[in-house]
Amino acid sequence: MYVIEHALLNLGKNKGRNILLGVITLAIITATVVAMGIFNTTRVVIEDTRAATMSAIRIQPIGRTQMTGSSQQESAITLEMHQYFAESLYITGADISDSGRGIEAVYYLIHPDMLGAFESDLRGRGLPDAYTVRTDDAAFASLVAPIENLQSLSVAFLIIILVMGAVIMVLVTAVSIRERKYEIGVLRAMGMKKKSVALGLWAEIIVITCICFIIGMGIGAALTQPVTDSILAGQSQAAGPTTLADRINNAPQTEAVTVDVSITFTTSLQIFAISIVLASVAGIISITRITKYEPIKILMERT
């Protein structure tokens, strides 16, 4: 169809303007890739943390849901008993310490599913019914809180980029289409229909967006890992050394909080859809604003 052919020819005819438009689009797409990468990373970190804390087990007296440090009842289980419990085959290890104000003990399951088997094992080893064997909720809460902060940070970052990106795209497209008012007027005067003019301009925008998407994916993918690493590093420093978190992190099967970020196919598709929608909305707003006039008005209003 000649409209598309005309659009493709136009791409090459206005290199300066198209490159400017492309650079801005590229920046927005790259930022989106990084933001989406970080968002997906925090999700992975939270899942990992949940898996890790699900493996951290405490023994608590019935009637107390949260472990709040030393307690007289818990000290009823002796250090020797804890050490005996730690010989269970369902765990990879345990942290047992006597601070002088009471014994604290955390056991690390080989797999979160083994909680039941571990409990039976402990009962066999003489754990009284007055004690429950449960996951370390306090540790999960304290570990996940900073990561959830990070995740909401990344969501905010993504929203800011998308909103700012949308505004910038609308403005830039509006300016670049205003510059082409004369050309649009000429096409309309020659009898090209509004729909065709709009389709041609849209096709140009979409081609530019697709090129920027490919380049932006490359740059974004390269940037996401270092950005993620530095944010995670900053986050764990900001969180400070919490004893529970440290213990979880030191646990044998708990990965340190570094995550290999990869932009998945789904993520790329989402970013592609976002880019196309942003560019189309920006384009359609500007195009309809100009093509609604009679051709003579578009031609006369050239400035």
Binding site: L187, M190, L299
Partner: protein, 219 residues
């Protein structure tokens, strides 16, 4: 046969309370050359934009082959039935002369033939070397000629020209006028030319004058 007919047409620009055209009536037939004269600011270009469907006529009626221009698809009317030569050319500046012509053919739905485009350009005195240059790099006179060739590219019934020879030397002017009279007499086109030049108005079978928002016939 009446090709275009104005009936009680009035026009004023948006935001202006003065009428440029006041209830004017006139008719244009196929096979004739019409010259429209009048002082600067009289409303000649305004009338042409109404006749060519570039603007809509909200008061009064313009008929093209008996059909109300307000009721037909004016995009199609411009692309197929009317060829306009603008005072300021209105060509695609970043495209070549030949592309301006072939695009006009494509918009009208015709098969675009480069050979035909070269022939049209040659007819208005644009040589082969110039046809492949961007409009930006052409002189005013050359652009005017490309504008004329483009107006003829889709073989319209009506040719409307606003000062089409204003930028041409006398010899070229004579050649262009020859083309216009040929189009009317041999091909049966309706040719409407706005002009300041007596040379041009002398080829008009009918000369209209616009003054004070009214139209009248001269001679």
């Amino acid at each position: 046969m009446k090709c275009l007919e104005l009936m009680d047409v009035s026009y004023r620009y948006e935001g202006s309370k003065d009428y440029v055209l006041k209830k004017i009536s006139a008719s244009f037939e196929a096979g004739k050359v019409y010259a429209i004269v009048g002082e600067s600011g009289a409303g000649k270009s305004t009338l042409l934009s109404l006749l060519s469907g570039l603007d809509s006529c909200k008061e009064g009626t313009i008929l093209y082959n008996g059909k109300n221009l307000q009721e037909i698809d004016r995009d199609e009317y411009r692309s197929k039935n009317v060829g306009v030569i603008f005072q300021n050319y209105n060509l695609l500046l970043n495209s070549t002369a030949v592309y301006n012509i072939t695009l006009s053919m494509k918009i009208s739905g015709d098969m675009a033939s480069k050979e035909q485009a070269y022939a049209l350009l040659k007819n208005v005195g644009i040589d082969r070397e110039t046809t492949d240059r961007k409009i930006l790099k052409l002189s005013g006179g050359e652009q005017q000629r490309v504008g004329i060739a483009r107006a003829l590219a889709h073989n319209p019934d009506v040719i409307i020209a606003d000062e089409p020879t204003g930028n041409l030397d006398e010899k070229t002017e004579a050649e262009i006028l020859e083309i216009f009279t040929h189009l009317a007499q041999e091909d049966g086109k309706c040719v409407i030319i706005v002009t300041h030049s007596d040379n041009v108005s002398s080829v008009g079978d009918v000369v209209y004058r616009i003054a004070g928002g009214k139209i009248s016939t001269i001679g």
